[in-house]
Symmetry: C2
Subunit: 114 residues, 2 copies
């Protein structure tokens, strides 16, 4: 990564339904290649999903020029949409809705140490 | 960052006491320089803290060879310990205790896209 390249850090939180927790973990042991390629094509990098109890946390770095437009392209990818038919039922929103209709809700950055 | 360098990704979650939320945010607008230097010296990099509602999430990358030993050195730094006398009262553990006595509890990585 070039030190000059602008990087946006994004973080999201969602709950995992307890009865679907193992299914969610199993799905993520073999994420579909096209799902990952679509994210790369959308300038999303260093993407991690973490879990504790029934809480999922996601962190990624966006290195493109239009995050919303790139996410829109991801949302139009048929393979990603099919993938979400498996993952969405595992998830439940656990914080106040800031992104309407989304399961994964964004966090705000409080502090950053490069 | 060298692509060869081994990087451990670490994530932690804690609650913020609603009545202390603004105080926590205010403290993090001016984190003490020595607190940040102690983290750098402990091989901790790309460290972000995020908030949504009353939930705080932390993500950092560890680039040293002994995470526990480096955290132990951070825990012995008098300036960091004084900093925590301001931040700890803002926080409350919100998940099952996996690190005994810690407010910030670790998450497990489910999936990573480089």
């Amino acid at each position: 990564m070039s030190a000059q390249r602008r990087v946006e850090r994004h973080a999201f939180i969602v709950g995992v339904r307890p009865e679907r927790r193992e299914e969610y973990l199993r799905l993520h042991r073999n994420v579909w290649q096209q799902v990952e390629q679509t994210l790369r094509d959308a300038h999303i990098t260093n993407y991690s999903i973490f879990i504790v109890g029934d809480v999922l946390f996601a962190y990624y770095e966006y290195v493109g020029d239009d995050h919303a437009a790139d996410l829109g392209r991801v949302a139009e990818d048929p393979v990603s949409r099919e993938w979400w038919t498996y993952t969405d039922p595992c998830q439940t929103r656990i914080v106040e809705e800031r992104t309407p209709g989304a399961l994964w809700q964004p966090l705000e950055e409080v502090w950053h140490l490069p």
